[in-house]
């Protein structure tokens, strides 16, 4: 058992927000597939249908998506969260979003009765006007929003960061100053694809966020930089699909990892990665993940 901000996890693989997280049943399934913890779809104050399709396309080195924060509102999501909490058997983290501190607080309070194990604040979705990265690129807003949630709850608050900023460390520090118990890095990297037959942008929203293989070096660098300057744990996410990728992210400074797009290849990705990590630790004579967290900082 490992401990991430007080959450007891059987392994360091966490289902990332926005993947298989719309229903309690889907979250429970991912927990049974081996995820050490699961993060819900980002939930807001009002029902949202999201952007028109195509909302996700596979590219050569990753996936491009613009879902548009579809969610049924915290009121309708509450029973799904309760169900996940009841049956998942692993920590369930509620991802929430809002346009300002008040809206974030309203959603958090609305979900509190289901007793999520932590909140993950989505201040990083790259393609939702007024939400996500509109908040998360401004350190003052990030601090205010984080403070607003950490003030009203005793459960851990994680803040998911966008890489679409000049300096992610400034934003990470703002989260830490606001009382965040951990930061999650990174959300998707802004991107776009155009259909050359017609000239139309492929995504219904025209542009979106890139995930998967292609962004892993960006995520590794962000995690490395955050580890250098922050005192709170970092959860690494971005392009992890094998245990080797996970080890690399941990060596950059991650205490745990999240897995998203890699579910495309198979839902067994969580168990494959956690078993691979264990084999690696044993083979190289380490006793636990903390032994290798951030060791790249000592090697140069």
């Amino acid at each position: 058992m490992m401990n991430i901000t007080g959450l007891r996890m059987k392994n360091p693989t966490i289902l990332a927000a926005g993947i298989m997280g719309t229903t309690g049943a889907a979250l429970i399934r991912m927990a049974r597939e081996g995820a050490g913890a699961v993060v819900t779809k980002s939930i807001g104050s009002q029902p949202k249908d999201g952007h028109s399709n195509p909302s996700m396309v596979k590219l050569d080195h990753g996936h491009l998506n613009a879902m548009g924060l579809p969610n049924p509102s915290y009121e309708d999501f509450l029973p799904e969260l309760e169900k996940a909490k009841h049956k998942a058997g692993v920590p369930v983290i509620a991802s929430i979003f809002g346009g300002n501190a008040d809206e974030f607080r309203k959603v958090a309070e609305g979900l509190m009765s289901a007793k999520p194990d932590a909140f993950e604040l989505n201040v990083s979705c790259p393609h939702a006007m007024g939400y996500g990265a509109s908040v998360g690129t401004d350190p003052v807003m990030v601090k205010a929003v984080t403070l607003a949630i950490s003030e009203i709850t005793d459960i851990p608050v994680w803040v998911k960061l966008t890489p679409n900023v000049t300096d992610i460390v400034t934003i990470g520090k703002a989260a830490q100053e606001g009382g965040a118990n951990a930061v999650v890095a990174i959300n998707t990297v802004r991107g776009m694809a155009i259909d050359i037959h017609s000239g139309y942008p492929v995504l219904g929203n025209r542009f979106g966020g890139l995930s998967g293989e292609g962004i892993r070096p960006i995520a590794v660098k962000c995690v490395y930089d955050l580890h250098e300057k922050l005192d709170i744990p970092i959860i690494g996410v971005g392009g992890i699909s094998t245990w080797q990728h996970a080890i690399e992210m941990i060596m950059a400074g991650a205490s745990a990892v999240q897995i998203g797009s890699a579910v495309y290849e198979g839902t067994n990705v969580f168990s494959d990665i956690s078993e691979g990590i264990n084999r690696f630790l044993k083979e190289y004579g380490y006793t636990n993940i903390e032994d290798i967290t951030g060791i790249a900082h000592e090697r140069f």
Binding site: T22, G24, A25, R29, N53, P54, V57, G204, V263
Partner: protein, 259 residues
């Protein structure tokens, strides 16, 4: 995979509410029952089962399908796929039963044609609102016996496909396949459960899709969290026991909609 560019080479008015759009692209390796994501540029992208290796048959039901109906021969579409799990093909010499309702005939007609040479008997129960809406009747007739029902009695038997299913001996069929409105399939499910035939039956389902590739979770069904776009759209009857099937579905936001 980015959408491939497909030109519409022929449009057939099958019934007053359904058109078949033939492309200049053949999905050679597609398994019957799989779907493609059809991108009507500037509008939306919607899942459609293949009714031929190079065609989809569409019912006009909403904005996206209405815009699709505005397209003419020579216009183009974006296509991704084929995706999902298709039908399990029968073994040689088996007796099969197809139960099709409305536009649900779209994946079953190619199945009838495909299995006709190798199966000993292909029986179809084909239902529609009225005589004009009977879809692919000829394709089923060329493959075997067809029972026809119409809701208003304008052709053959007045009633539903389940009225016929209730009367025939389902024990003689090695495999049963069904596609149609969920309320119809729910009643089919009830009869086949009673007859202990669920295990030999495959249901082709419809849910709202976002990603279409098994990642986002928007089409997950309760209670097993099965993804209709990836684990389906074709499911064995046993997989649906105790599920949300026939009870509710979810809209784009994830909010439940009761049937």
């Amino acid at each position: 995979m980015l959408p491939l560019n497909a030109n519409i080479v022929k449009i057939v008015d099958e019934t007053p509410s359904t058109h078949t759009f033939f492309f200049d692209h053949l999905f050679e390796d597609a398994i019957i029952g799989q779907f493609v994501m059809v991108w009507i540029r500037g509008v939306d992208e919607i899942p459609m089962t293949l009714s031929y290796k190079n065609a989809i048959t569409v019912q006009k039901v909403g904005d996206a399908t209405s815009r699709l109906f505005d397209l003419k021969e020579g216009d183009s579409l974006g296509l991704r796929g084929p995706f999902g799990k298709g039908f399990t093909l029968p073994k040689e010499g088996e007796n099969i039963l197809l139960i099709a309702g409305g536009v649900g005939a779209a994946p079953l007609a190619p199945l009838a044609e495909n299995v006709f040479p190798s199966c000993s008997e292909v029986t179809t129960i084909l239902g529609a609102r009225n005589v004009n809406e009977l879809l692919f009747m000829d394709r089923f007739l060329q493959s075997g016996q067809v029972y026809i029902t119409t809701d208003d009695g304008s052709a053959h038997r007045c009633g539903f496909v389940t009225d016929v299913l209730d009367e025939i001996d389902v024990s003689k069929y090695d495999r049963i396949y069904t596609c149609g409105p969920e309320m119809m399939m729910k009643r089919v499910f009830g009869i086949l459960e009673r007859e202990s035939a669920l295990e030999r039956t495959e249901f082709s389902l419809h849910r709202y899709f976002k990603c279409g590739i098994g990642v986002c979770g928007a089409c997950c069904m309760d209670d097993a969290g099965l993804r209709v776009c990836k684990d389906g759209p074709v499911f064995n009857g046993k997989e649906l026991v105790g599920s949300e099937f026939g009870k509710y579905t979810r809209g784009p936001s994830g909010q439940k909609k009761l049937f």
